[in-house]
Symmetry: C2
Subunit: 214 residues, 2 copies
DNA sequence: GTAGTAACTGACCGCAAGTCATTTAATCAA
DNA sequence: TTGATTAAATGACTTGCGGTCAGTTACTAC
């Protein structure tokens, strides 16, 4: 009985094709400006068909965003599978997030919307669950690594690894969001180079977490 | 000839009344969900009239947001007009921003949208200019205070005041945004109390900036 | 009282999200 | 092979909202 299996595969394939089309359109136009008709045309399907696979435009958007989360997770995994000391790996994570910001800007921007409280109301429970799962995987990776840094004695033992992860992430994310939207403004009006700010602030935070100043 | 002056006052008054109505509706519904018809009804005017005073829904939104900036600026001014030492005032600014977050949550949320890069394209040049002016006033206040802290010798002289301001702001803003949307999630899944995280991270950053550990 | 002007109105337009009756294609049973 | 059944896909249609503008009302000046 290979037919139901084949059908299942084809359905999955179509879901992916729709996501490919959506990704192209969303990257070019953003959530607000992109239209379902455009995505349908890019997918060479009718608009109605899109709704057989995704409940709403926002769900489709989250589907693309989850791809972005997976890419980030894979980059983080790569950054931490070297033979370097744990403390260096933690530093690598920070650098890798910045690389993600530079190389996958469109995905990075999608994370904005996830932070908008009103966005959440327009999204299905299922997609929301998938997002949180993807999110959690990344957090766990970072927190576990910091815990290891504590166990190995490089990081001060009174540091809470989850709190530490949140601090590092909030700081770098906050600065990168500014880079994305207002880099020129900060340069011209305040005379601030945000890339330097990112480096400095991360160094300051690392400093406070390390046992020995290095 | 008091008639043109009176007309001008009435026009200004109407602008304010429209803003009052828009504020009520935007606070309740958010930018996306609120409709111009709702705002018109709240203002007891027809929809067309709104467009005689504001160019678009987004412009009206920014008009409300500027009120929020003014409130923040006044709170910051208040926090820095005490007789305490400069270094304490800087700390007060951080506390005041958190108070703003707690007491003026709806205004705080409006700042989100300003960070959305695609939002900017839908907004008139005039409003944008007003926003940047309001924004700049706040930055100037913070940066000047940090400069004073350097001059008085409490803050390490190699610190760049503008960079320092950006770091403090990015960090606290990033954490408060998380508080706003995902406080429960962080508590339950990661076991992290974001209020503690805010306090700790600010303490860490202050520490790195001070000449003497205090 | 009337001409002229500024303020205001709401029916209307265009566009886009989402729906659903209908059509098309694939599978199966006889 | 063919007719019945089910699944997949379609696109015309509904609904709702941002924005417009021809027409109305209210006020001012002469």
């Amino acid at each position: 009985m290979g037919i139901p299996e084949r059908k299942e595969r084809e359905k999955e394939h179509r879901r992916e094709e729709i996501l490919n089309a959506a990704q192209r359109v969303f990257f070019e136009k953003g959530l607000q400006t992109a239209t379902m008709d455009e995505i349908a045309e890019a997918a060479e399907l009718s608009k109605g068909t899109l709704y057989l696979y995704y409940k709403s435009k926002e769900d489709l958007y989250l589907g693309v965003m989850i791809r972005g989360m997976d890419i980030l997770y894979n980059m983080f995994t790569e950054a931490t599978s070297t033979n370097e000391p744990t403390i260096v790996k933690i530093k690598n994570l920070g650098d890798m997030y910045y690389r993600y910001f530079k190389e996958h800007r469109s995905f990075f921007r999608m994370f904005y919307f996830f932070q908008n409280p009103l966005f959440h109301t327009q999204v299905s429970q299922e997609m929301m669950g998938l997002c949180q799962a993807g999110n959690q995987k990344v957090w766990k990776l970072v927190i576990d690594l910091i815990q290891r840094g504590i166990d190995e004695g490089d990081i001060r033992p009174e540091v809470d690894p989850a709190e530490c992860a949140v601090i590092l992430w909030s700081n770098s994310n906050g600065i990168m969001m500014r880079m994305d939207t207002q880099e020129e403004y900060f340069k011209n009006v305040l005379g601030v180079d945000l890339e330097r700010v990112l480096q400095k602030s991360m160094a300051m935070l690392f400093q406070s977490m390390l046992r020995d100043p290095a």
